[in-house]
Every structure is written in structure tokens, then in C-alpha cells.
């Protein structure tokens, strides 16, 4: 069934930028060496079960911990273990396994059993778990193997994100070409078998109605799957925004969607579910969108997980003057060196110019290619492709109460009000009343601020200081919800509901 007209207040539509990937998919091939972090996607870091000098096959499990909330980690190429080392990754450090390739491209299957529709639930879940797929999504895919904070029986809704609302429109339609749609729908069926109580909600870009209609036709007769054509407004893709928009429910800010019985996955995750269960294929590769002007060609690439960024050198323009950002220009982390390994949950790598000089009289330029929330640039009226770079475009100035941050805030708080309090070091209960803990760190307030104030950083700082003083989500947000999987102790049986 197609459900129309769902939307949220606030947000901002990024339109028409240079560096959007076109619908071609290329193979990056097997790199000489991969670095596989032992913490990827959702779950705790797992201990390695291989040692230096071991021979490994692509798909073989190299890290597993059945006692913690985690998902096993697989080798992604055939070769030998070169070393185990600690690396800086995302926002912390993690152990990793470095594998040197032997040049072959084959891989081993997840297990030996046959046709998926005849598999038991347990065998299904085992394939999902052992293939590495259960680490996808912000709270993982629940199985009886403790791959998420809740069990599969506790899941009431599965939300599938078929759109991206970041600066470059990244449709991932290459994934749904031809038989892709059928594999996607099969993937949904598998998820429904694992999580039988769950209703499925799929979101797509409103402007791609042909795809929406195609899927809707194919769904005829199947209950419990709704399709939502939505406007591409940032930060729609964040769990905290999409879940309340689709389900008409309040979101327990600061907690995972799984805590309210909701699992949020993207299209690629559903396809990986299909590959793992129906194709018996471990999660050794990933389709990554190469976005932004730093790439010679903006397209999609199939990459082995753990490939360092530098293995894509042929596609990168001039590395020295670029900043690489993972997944999202407003919230993603950036990497300073090109040895960063592609994680199994990555969706895109964005390369944008690191722009140190501001440009002569830049504030007065007509701005054919400059993006702004205000309509003070020519770009608001003509259709030139807009360009982005890392310059802050101006000097920091005092807040003039223009109200832009409040207008775009997707959770309806007053960012500048919190900023003024934190800046004057007034860390009091009042901040909690101003709903500081509702902030979902989408960073849109900082983006639109004409005074170039790092509003979102101040809000983050305020939250941290409040937590230090003993006031946090558990006292402000938690009492208002019936959340799942929080007090559950580690010793409860795998996967069973409370």
C-alpha cells in the first residue's frame, strides 16, 4: 500500500549539487591488502580468532564473541594474516586484522545448507549472524544470537530507508535495477520471517514514483508492507526523524530505535540480507557511492570491505587538497589519511575541496553556485549545479537572533537559546526543560547560522556537562517511554523476549 503525505517540521532540502553519483556501478576489485577493524557497524568489538601468518579465505570468520552483543567479523579476501594492529577508527580506536591478498577472487559460503525457504528460523538467523549482515543498521538486526539489544520477537516495525537527503542526492537506484527489485522484496520476506510480528515500512524519494508503483504492483497480496514516497528533506535519513515521521510516534531521544521495537535498515542492508540467506554469501563487499568533486567520476563502486581508501587512487583527483568524509557531510566523520579502511556499514565516501582561501570580495558575489538557506544568492533562482567546500565562508559574529536555526530544527527545539546558556556556562536543569536531550546532532543549526557559530557543538558540550552533573536521558527521557532491551541483563536467554 502506498502511504502519502508523511512529513516532518523543519529540515532543509539540499538541491542540485555538483558531484552527485550517476547510475553506473563499477568493480573496485580485490586490493593488495585489507585492514579489517574488529568493530564495525552495530555491536561491541570482537576478539580475533586468527594470528599472524594464518591463511584465511574470504568469508572465513576472523573475529567472534558469542557472549556479547556483537556480530562476527569475516575476512574479505583470500590470503595470509600480515599483522594484528590497533587503528584509529571512526571516533575511537579498535583492533584490526591486516590481510595480504593472494590475488584470487573467490569466497567461501556461509554454511552448507540449501534453499532458504526450507530452512528453519534458527538456520536463517544463523546465516544472517555468521555472514556479518546482522551488524547493519544503527541497532543491528535482531537474531537469537544476540546481534541486537532486543530479540527478533520484540520487533514491531522494520523501516527501510530508500532515500538519502544529504547534499548529493544518492539514490542507490543501481541497486534496484532489473532483478534488484525482486531480490530486495525477497530480502524483505526473509526479514519478515525472522521478525514475524513486524510491519514493514519502505521509504522512497517522492520524485521516483515509477519505482514506488513498480514495487507496489509486485507487492499485491502481501500484507504488512507499506511504501512511503517522501520529500528529500535533510535530516529525514536519521533514525530519530524517520521513525516518528512514519510511525506517528514520539521518539525516545538518546536511545536506539530498537529500544522502541523498531529496526531501521537501508536498501543495501536488505539486499545483503538476501545475499546472505538466499545466496549463502558472507558480507565481504559493499556498494559505495563516490560523491563530491574530489572524484574523477561520480558513480557507485563495489568494494571489498576493509579496502583502504588509497586502493581507489585511480578515481581520486588530488588527494592533498581534499577532505574525505564518510556517509554524510553534516554528520559524518572525516579521515585525514587515505589508509582508512572501508567499513561494512559505509554507504558513501565524499571528497570535497579543503578550501583555505575565501575569495576576493566573496561576500558580495552574486553566487551562482553557492548554497544558502536564505534566498540571497542567485543560485536560489537559477539551476546551476552548486559547489561545496570546507571553508566557513565568513567570520564568527555574535548571534543576531535571525531564527534560522529554530526554523530548520527537525526536533522543534530552540538551538540558539541553548547556545546562549551553554556559552555563558549556565548549565542548569533549565537546559533539560529546553529539551537539550532531544537534540539529535544533525548539525543543521550550525550549517545555516550566518554568524558562523558552532551551535551544535555548544549543545553537545551542554549535554556532556549536564551528564557530568548527573542529569541525563535516563532521568529526562526514559521515564516517559516503555523501552525494550535496556534493563535486560546479559544472562537472559539468547533472543527470547522478556
Amino acid at each position: 500500500m502506498i502511504v502519502r503525505g508523511r512529513r516532518f517540521k523543519g529540515g532543509y532540502r539540499f538541491k542540485h549539487f555538483e558531484g552527485e553519483p550517476k547510475d553506473t556501478l563499477v568493480e573496485a576489485g580485490v586490493p593488495e591488502e585489507v585492514v579489517i577493524p574488529l568493530k564495525q557497524g552495530f555491536g561491541y568489538e570482537v576478539p580475533s580468532v586468527v594470528k599472524k601468518g594464518d591463511t584465511v579465505k574470504a568469508g572465513q570468520i576472523i573475529g567472534i564473541d558469542e557472549n556479547s552483543v556483537s556480530t562476527p567479523v569475516q575476512a574479505t579476501i583470500n590470503g595470509t594474516v600480515k599483522e594484528l594492529k590497533k587503528i584509529k577508527y571512526i571516533d575511537g580506536t579498535t583492533n584490526s586484522v591486516v590481510i595480504k591478498s593472494d590475488g584470487t577472487t573467490d569466497w567461501q559460503t556461509v554454511d552448507h545448507e540449501g534453499e532458504w525457504s526450507r530452512l528453519s528460523e534458527e538456520a536463517l538467523e544463523r546465516r544472517l549472524y555468521m555472514s556479518g549482515v546482522t551488524s547493519l543498521g544503527r541497532s543491528g538486526i535482531p537474531t537469537r544470537y544476540r546481534s541486537s539489544v532486543i530479540g527478533p520477537g520484540e520487533v514491531e516495525h522494520i523501516v527501510v530507508q530508500g532515500l538519502s537527503t544529504d547534499v548529493h542526492n544518492t539514490s542507490f537506484s543501481v541497486l534496484l535495477d532489473g532483478e534488484g527489485v525482486d531480490r530486495f522484496l525477497e530480502g524483505l520476506k526473509i526479514l519478515k520471517r525472522v521478525m514475524p510480528k513486524a510491519a514493514v515500512h519502505v521509504t522512497f524519494d517522492k520524485s521516483r514514483m515509477s519505482l514506488v508503483k513498480l514495487i507496489n504492483e509486485k507487492l499485491t497480496g502481501q500484507d504488512g508492507i507499506n511504501i512511503y514516497p517522501l520529500e528529500l528533506k535533510y535530516p529525514q535519513e536519521l533514525d530519530e526523524v524517520i521513525v516518528p515521521t512514519i510511525l506517528n510516534a514520539r521518539y525516545p531521544y538518546g536511545y536506539l530505535p530498537a529500544h522502541m521495537g523498531v529496526i531501521v535498515l537501508n536498501v543495501q542492508a536488505v539486499l545483503r540480507v538476501y545475499d546472505a540467506v538466499a545466496g549463502n554469501k558472507p558480507m565481504i563487499e559493499r556498494v559505495i557511492a563516490l560523491r563530491g568533486p574530489g572524484f574523477t567520476e561520480n558513480q557507485y563502486a563495489t568494494v571489498r570491505v576493509g579496502s583502504p581508501l588509497q586502493s581507489m587512487k585511480g578515481w581520486i583527483k588530488d588527494e592533498r587538497s581534499l577532505r574525505f568524509v564518510v556517509d554524510n557531510l553534516l554528520t559524518g566523520f572525516s579521515c585525514t589519511d587515505s589508509s582508512l579502511p572501508i567499513g561494512r556499514s559505509f554507504n558513501s565516501i565524499i571528497a570535497i575541496p579543503e578550501q583555505v582561501s575565501g575569495g576576493f570580495l566573496s561576500f558580495a558575489a552574486p553566487g551562482f553556485t553557492k548554497d544558502s538557506y536564505s534566498r540571497t544568492f542567485v543560485s536560489s533562482f537559477v539551476g546551476f549545479k552548486k559547489k561545496v567546500n570546507t571553508n566557513i565562508h565568513g567570520e564568527e559574529r555574535p548571534c543576531i537572533f535571525c531564527g534560522y536555526c529554530e526554523d530548520v530544527c527537525p526536533v522543534g527545539i530552540t538551538p540558539h537559546l541553548i547556545y546562549h546558556n551553554v556559552e555563558r556556562n549556565k548549565i542548569e536543569e533549565k537546559l533539560a526543560i529546553y529539551r537539550i536531550f532531544n537534540c539529535i546532532d544533525c548539525n543543521l543549526c550550525t550549517y545555516v547560522c550566518p554568524s558562523k557559530i558552532q551551535i551544535a557543538s555548544y549543545i553537545k558540550e551542554g549535554k556532556k556537562k549536564l551528564r557530568d552533573s548527573g542529569l541525563d536521558e535516563s532521568t529526562v527521557i526514559f521515564p516517559n517511554f516503555h523501552l525494550k532491551g535496556i534493563q535486560k541483563s546479559i544472562d537472559t536467554d539468547k533472543g527470547t523476549a522478556k
Partner: protein, 344 residues
């Protein structure tokens, strides 16, 4: 490449020891000429291209029709009033920036021009200077500069000279293209005889009034530009004007001798200019949506009341300054009702 060289030599100039004490000026100038050389420290990795310089420039652009009309109507006198306002106020800004060791704030670009445009065309230049200096110091700098002031600095200066030099400020009007220098403004005329000018004359600026407030078509265009470009929110100007219209329509039915009818109210005095350019100053008006509505209604009501029942005809100026004083209270009420304890 040419830009880079220019920038390089500018930076060399900054290194001279003699320039050390003037960093407030040199940094500001550098920012205007060459933009910022800073990059984002982390997420978000990109920022909006709008900066305060452009924000304020957009407000100045919205004032271009009024300014051009003032210069067309009153010639050299208008030009010299604007120049004196910018220079005298600019000196105060620079001195404060130097003593605070901070960059010069762009807000003065707007304040300096708005102040000049609210003056009668024959205001002596020394009065212009006194007004703008007083407004800048006591309306803004003493509160800590842009963003911290409570009252609109241009209005503080205007109010000060209105009260200090009533003879000069209320008697020396002139109608464009006529030699009668002592003609009273339509609002004063209405008080004594209930006579009203033609609507078309009011729109085109062929009535007596302050330099920038008479060419009303230009003001409307400028205001629409500000609203459309999102530099100001529509709430205050539209609700302010709507309240004046509604209130005077009712009032005119009951006390026609005192309260003028709506069309005349809207097209006389500084109402349009004040509603579009002064009541909308984001710093001195409420930032909450509900607060903006309340501000618009109350300012509108006070404007009609002051025009009708006080000795002054400057209802717009007084009511905006009065409501500037209430702004913190209005926002406080709006914020506490939005964020009630226990309500999520």
C-alpha cells in the same frame, strides 16, 4: 593568482609593527576583501554561504529604493545627511572596536542608513552627527555591541534628537519639488483639520515627511525583498500593518475626529518604513514566533493610540522603542509557555 598575491602583500602589511594597534580595522578589512581562510573543524564539514556581511548588505539593498528616492527628492542635502550619519557613527564604531580589540560589526551598515532616512530632509548636519553618535553609543555599544542591545540604535538616536531639538525636528518639513519649507506633515494636518492627501501622492512620495519614508512603493518593494529572501520574517511587518489597519478601521467608526481611517494610517508617517525596516530588527524584536505575533499586534495598537491621543505624531517611533523594551519579557513568556516543565 592575482588574488593570492594581493592577499600576500596585505598580510605583509599587517606584520608591520605600526599596524599592531589597529588589528580591529585591518582584520575587518581583510575579511571584507579576502573572505575567511578558516575551514570547518569537523562535522558539519560544510557551512551555508550566507555570512553577516551579506546578511546586512541584503538589508542595505532593500533600502536602496528609499535611499535613491531621498536623493532624487532632496539632492545634496540628502547625500550629506547620509554621509554624516555614516562617518560620525562609523568613527564611534571603530573607536569601540579598537578599544575592545574586536572586529568592526557589520550591523552599522544598516543602522547608519536607517537613521539618516528617518530624519527630516532639512535637519542640520550637526544634529545628524549628535543623533547618530548618541544612538550608537547609548543604543548599542554600552550594551556590549550588536546582538546584545535592547533598543534599536537608530531609533534611540532619532528619539534623542526629537526630544532634545523639538523645534528643528518637528517644524522643518518640506514637500519635494515645492519651496514651502515649513509645511506640516499629513499626520499633523489631520490632527487639526482631518484633511488627507491623495493616495497616489502618498505612494509616490509627494507628501511631506522624513527623507526615506515618503516613497512608499519603494519601501513596499524593499520589504517584500527582505521577506522573500528570508532576511526578515514576515510575521512582524504583516501583523503590525494588519493591526494598524484593523484597529484604525474600528477606531475611525467611533472617534473619527481623532483616529484616521486605515488607508491614510498605512500610507502616512513612518509606518511602512518602521514596519519593514525597524520593527523587524532581529536583535531588538522577539525571536519566538508567538512573541513576533504579540509584538506586531501591540506595536500596531500603540502606533494608532499614540498618533491619535498624544501630543506627538511620531507614533511609529515611540511604539517600536516602547515594544523593544518589552521584547525580553515577551520572549520570556513565549519560551516558558513552550517549554513548560513536564511537557515534552
Amino acid at each position: 593568482m592575482k588574488n593570492l598575491d594581493l592577499k600576500g602583500s596585505y598580510e605583509k602589511l599587517l606584520k608591520l609593527r605600526a599596524m599592531k594597534n589597529f588589528q580591529a580595522i585591518t582584520h575587518t578589512l581583510g575579511g571584507i576583501l579576502f573572505g575567511s581562510s578558516k575551514v570547518t573543524p569537523g562535522a558539519p564539514h560544510i557551512l551555508d554561504f550566507l555570512e553577516i556581511k551579506r546578511f546586512m548588505s541584503a538589508a542595505v539593498i532593500a533600502l536602496v529604493p528609499s535611499t535613491a528616492a531621498a536623493i532624487y527628492f532632496f539632492g545634496l542635502q540628502a547625500v550629506s545627511i547620509i554621509v554624516v550619519s555614516y562617518v560620525a557613527g562609523g568613527i564611534v564604531e571603530v573607536l569601540f572596536a579598537l578599544s575592545r580589540k574586536k572586529e568592526i560589526e557589520e550591523g552599522f551598515l544598516v543602522t547608519g542608513l536607517i537613521f539618516a532616512l528617518t530624519l527630516p530632509p532639512s535637519t542640520p548636519l550637526w544634529v545628524v552627527a549628535i543623533g547618530v553618535i548618541f544612538g550608537t553609543i547609548f543604543g548599542k555599544e554600552l550594551f556590549g555591541g550588536t546582538g546584545r542591545n535592547i533598543f534599536n540604535p537608530a531609533l534611540v538616536g532619532r528619539l534623542f534628537i526629537t526630544i532634545s531639538f523639538p523645534q528643528i525636528m518637528t517644524m522643518s518639513w518640506s514637500v519635494p519639488f515645492a519651496d514651502a519649507v515649513t509645511s506640516a506633515t499629513p499626520l499633523v494636518v489631520y490632527k487639526s483639520s482631518q484633511a488627507m492627501p491623495q493616495v497616489l501622492d502618498s505612494l509616490l512620495g509627494l507628501t511631506a515627511g522624513s527623507m526615506g519614508e515618503t516613497f512608499r512603493i519603494g519601501i513596499i518593494l524593499g520589504g517584500l525583498f527582505l521577506i522573500f529572501s528570508r532576511i526578515t520574517n514576515w510575521r512582524i511587518p504583516i501583523i503590525y500593518l494588519a493591526t494598524v489597519a484593523a484597529f484604525s478601521w474600528v477606531g475611525n467608526i467611533f472617534v473619527p475626529a481623532k483616529i484616521a481611517p486605515p488607508v491614510f494610517q498605512l500610507l502616512s508617517g513612518g509606518l511602512l518604513f518602521g514596519a519593514m525596516f525597524m520593527a523587524t530588527d532581529p536583535v531588538t524584536s522577539p525571536y519566538t514566533k508567538g512573541g513576533k505575533v504579540a509584538f506586531g499586534i501591540l506595536t500596531g495598537a500603540f502606533t494608532v493610540l499614540i498618533r491619535a491621543f498624544s501630543g506627538f505624531t511620531e507614533g511609529v517611533m515611540f511604539s517600536i522603542v516602547l515594544m523593544n523594551g518589552f521584547t525580553p519579557l515577551i520572549d520570556h513568556i513565549a519560551i516558558s509557555s513552550k517549554y513548560k516543565t513536564g511537557k515534552r
